[in-house]
Symmetry: C2
Subunit: 426 residues, 2 copies
């Protein structure tokens, strides 16, 4: 791993997958097919893309029961404990409706209302991610969403992984459907005979899923389109190089385009971490992926001071930030842009990926400048509440009318003045 | 205005402006030109589209001073009072960072951080909207955004309307630039010599502005793309038909595609409102627009009960909802989908457009199912904070590692186990 003195974070800028015209047309075709043919299209497209002719789209209670039997009991317990921790964290995010009053009798407020229904997309493929199920479903559940459905592409035998089914059941989804790809997004957005449409679709997926989500945005709401992810570690000379190397590699094993960055004031630490990374890499099962990620998007930046280090971190706006300095909490006030901030030597990133309770769906690729971790607010919306009293409208109607006329909107002016007129008539 | 017994809200579904390929290409060209040529492109494009060769992009302090002189003192006072009310409402939306602890030494939290910089787009053209300035800027200001800049297209003399300048100054923007269209969006997203880039762009605009916002989304954040707007009134026999008619028309005068809908249990009221609308229409300056809107997208729906009425309202999910029944507050608990809810006979919609304090940037065209009024949260973002203690990691590392291995992520497992190893070494 290379150590750099001149800081240039341009190399960290990785592009999000580019869509070709052909892929977009194919996605539009799939969406139209689902819109027009409903379930029939889902069966056909699942045959075509997932290589299985399903008998039922929906996962049966028996399949869920079987998943529990297939799984190691200890793992089931771990999933349950993680689910409990994740719920505990997200409950803190719940907001109250509120109002305030003015002496003239005005009442103004904001009503917080959960979405009616949400669809969570869980990718299939090489690895199954039960943790993504918990992270997608729990905030919606805590928000009070009544109907949460989960979709995920089946394997060649028409099955979903046991871990996904157990996690889905533990987090409280209403129904699980064995569909994936753009066709799953179409089903959630437009509805079919079996699958009622939802108000919002969340969860990561491949390029086709991302394109489909962008296409249906407006008909339903969507979460962000995730780009390649990253970790940055800010450390001084007190940090443990083996911890840092292990944490950098945990990010690197995700994807050849994952970025792993150390920012440090200590040249000695920089050298030790570089060595540790190379050493720990040797025995990783996903070594090939991690090695490419470290080579292409790994960097150790030497900085003059922690202040400079924090400036650099704020410029990178990393998805994950670990702070391994003597007094990490003292630096929290200066950190402006990071999806999740892990403080101290024991807060290894996977702690947050699986278990502590915070969400692992985080803003990637510098979007932490303006985006947030997936959270309960994402599954609620607000309504303004305005109640003007007779006195308030009598006192203010002329002012409001004058403002409306300044904007050339006479009917607006007359609507409020109508309340004066009627009063004068009495 | 027609009264309908069979309820079919399909006619309310108005499409958002469709973009042609040509318009999109033109927007992409403009964005590229701004990206490559900076200020020079802005001067050239403003000459081309707004018909004025500017000397300076930025509004000078003298121009702002002049705006105050041009405006009626009473109007300045009204704008100031509106600004104060809007601030009072939005201050209530501010959220606190929070944390909680576990007995094992874990600390988990969420830090709330304002965005660094925001750009507010204010449309030019026939009507100037100082109220939109207040509504766009105030929540950003209250959120704590340090740099708020405003952009708006100049007239042929290179000026912005006095009302816009006064409102901008009262709401506390850092700088005002005389640029509009896709070129203004490009400048805010990419930055030029004079205009530093921002993290988020908000505010409505024409089709070119909307297309440009969609193009730069990802580089910066954007607010929603607004569609045609609407009002729905839910009323029983106790309501005043003249009030309802006036409020329906205040919405109708905006745009020929604005929808104005009355849902009522009272046939007598329905007939009176239909007559009143026709009567009040006659003398409106914007009669032509309002008449088309009422003809094409106006409707009075007769329902059996208030319960049926509320079901219909929730299906429409109107931008504005007025509740004019005997006990409007009692119905608040059943209303699930509406951008802003106006309760009682005195809460005429323009009260909320200008003065009460709530935001007038609201989810349109049924998107109140999943979207919210513009608010302080839109200008902040969250960072998760995770601090695991030594005991917490020692107690949980094996569980976390098992979860990671279930997902095939060995480096994740090893990162947490590294903390055990080192412990055993001691």
């Amino acid at each position: 791993m290379k150590i750099e003195r001149a800081v240039d974070i341009k190399t960290l800028k990785r592009s999000i997958d580019q869509d070709s015209e052909a892929q977009l047309l194919s996605v539009q075709d799939i969406l139209n097919q689902v819109k027009e043919q409903g379930d029939a299209a889902l069966f056909e497209l699942t045959g075509k893309f997932d290589g299985v002719m399903l008998e039922e789209l929906r996962v049966s209670p028996e399949e869920i029961q079987q998943a529990y039997q297939e799984m190691d009991d200890e793992l089931v317990e771990i999933i349950k404990e993680a689910a409990k921790n994740i719920e505990e964290y997200h409950v803190q995010q719940k907001k109250q409706s509120w109002f305030f009053t003015r002496p003239d009798g005005t009442m103004l407020g904001q009503k917080i209302i959960p979405l009616d229904s949400v669809g969570v997309y869980v990718p299939g493929g090489t690895a199954a991610y039960p943790s993504s199920v918990l992270m997608g479903v729990t905030p919606a559940k805590v928000a009070g969403v009544e109907r949460i459905v989960l979709v995920s592409p089946p394997d060649k035998n028409g099955k979903l992984p046991a871990g996904v089914l157990v996690a889905a059941n533990e987090s409280g989804v209403a129904a699980i459907f064995k569909i994936g790809g753009a066709q799953a997004i179409g089903a959630l957005a437009y509805g079919t005979e079996t699958i009622k449409s939802v108000d919002k679709i969340v969860g990561p997926g491949n390029l086709y899923v991302a394109l489909a989500k962008r296409e249906v945005f407006g008909t339903v709401d969507i979460d962000m389109i995730a780009g390649p992810s990253e970790i940055a570690v800010l450390a001084d000379g007190t940090a443990n190089p083996a911890y840092i190397a292990a944490d950098l590699l945990s990010q690197a094993e995700h994807d050849p385009r994952s970025a792993s960055v150390l920012v440090t004031t200590s040249e000695a630490l920089a050298e030790q971490v570089a060595k540790e990374v190379d050493k720990q890499l040797q025995t990783l099962p996903r070594r090939e992926i991690a090695e490419r990620a470290i080579r292409d998007y790994g960097a150790i930046y030497l900085v003059e001071s922690l202040k400079d280090g924090i400036d650099l971190i704020n410029e990178i706006a990393p998805e994950h930030l670990e702070v391994m300095t003597q007094n990490p909490t003292e630096l929290l006030g200066q950190i402006k842009h990071a999806g999740a901030i892990f403080l101290g030597p024991n807060s290894s990133e996977p702690v947050g990926d699986y278990f502590a309770g915070s969400n692992h769906v985080l803003p990637t690729s510098g979007t932490a400048r303006f985006s947030s971790p997936l959270n309960v607010d994402d599954f609620t919306k607000k309504s303004s509440v305005i109640m003007y009293s007779e006195r308030a409208i009598q006192d203010n109607a002329k002012k409001i009318a004058a403002f409306a006329r300044l904007e050339g909107l006479e009917a607006h002016a007359r609507a409020v003045e109508k309340r004066l007129e009627e009063k004068e008539d009495e």
